[in-house]
Symmetry: C2
Subunit: 210 residues, 2 copies
């Protein structure tokens, strides 16, 4: 009977470990909110942004013949239940993306649902595995101290190691001022979704926990 | 004793399930090759491309004021041990990326090592979690039947559901003709790596299985 109990305890631990690992691999260690219905485009878009921790930030590379230059970056729009939908980044001009943006602010930021692990076995290009591209202008955040403080907390909460990144690299907070939204989260082409509809969603009133 | 045995069998099944899940979530169900040393830039770049199944493909959106437009796509450069380093895509002009490329071929394709699950707890923007951006021209593949055949097999092997995608959507094979490579896989800035060095790596002679 002791062996049975030991096996059952071990079994329970393995289950717990399974849940824990899911929140470590590929997802930030923050509250997971359940996936909204694809029809609710605004809520779905905000959910996808709030649950993601990284994406590809695109700028125009004038030193590469004006090519669109994508770069892997971490970001945050706030903690998942308090996100505002605006992606903030922590960039250094040692990296081409920040240098490009200071010359030409045209930009887009692309996220795949595949990266957060909720697409199952569906192919990343299948329309039912959601993807979003926020198109706009990439700007340094340095005007409003309240926004700077919100952005810094948003970034350092989701990406704890950022706080320790080398001071000499002069990391600065940037944000994407969104002008257009391209999102596919089901069959039938991109969802119709305005920036206003997207920004006015209140994530703190969406309490469905995954 | 029967309960003990049942518990132990269940326990073994859970272990097996754990291993199986790791190869389903986020990685293609193909041979995994072990991570090369970051110093071997050409081999590392080819490994990262061969192990990945999706990325963000960037084009110039003339209908969005010339903004750089990133889009999540699946791709393949061949099966991991026979890849050639050239990313092939399966795109339809129902999607803006293919339409953009037919007007302006300038493009880049961006992949994060974070997506293949080998970065552990390292932040996706940390230089030790590798990222690569291949910059070049995005072109339809329709000249050489041998290349078309290689590309189609490469795509359908890595992305089995592609073969069943709607015929009416007129999917076409595209490729990125690489002109420049930007890769960070350790501290100290992007690796020096020419397109020739990248393309001449023979993956079938790299047999280190993960």
């Amino acid at each position: 009977m002791n062996i049975t109990r030991a096996a059952l305890i071990l079994l329970s631990l393995l289950f717990l470990l399974g849940f824990f690992q899911e929140s470590v691999d590929g997802r930030p260690l923050l509250q997971s909110l359940s996936r909204p219905k694809p029809d609710d485009a605004a809520l779905f878009a905000r959910w996808l942004v709030s649950q993601s921790s990284w994406g590809v930030l695109n700028t125009i590379a004038s030193d590469m013949g004006g090519a669109p230059f994508g770069n892997v970056v971490s970001f945050s729009d706030g903690s998942p239940d308090k996100g505002r939908g605006i992606p903030y980044f922590y960039l250094t001009t040692l990296d081409p993306t920040a240098r490009n943006a200071l010359k030409d602010q045209r930009s887009s930021f692309t996220i795949s649902e595949y990266a957060i692990g909720t697409c199952g076995k569906t192919d990343p290009e299948n329309p039912s595995c959601a993807k979003i591209t926020l198109v706009g202008k990439l700007k340094v955040v340095n005007g409003d101290p309240k926004e700077t403080s919100f952005a810094q907390t948003a970034l350092f909460t989701k990406h704890p190691e950022m706080e320790g990144w080398p001071k000499g690299h002069n990391f600065q907070i940037f944000k994407l001022e969104i002008e257009e939204i391209f999102m596919i989260n089901w069959f039938g082409g991109p969802k119709s979704l305005t920036v206003d509809q997207y920004l006015k969603v209140k994530m703190d009133s969406y309490t469905a926990i995954a």
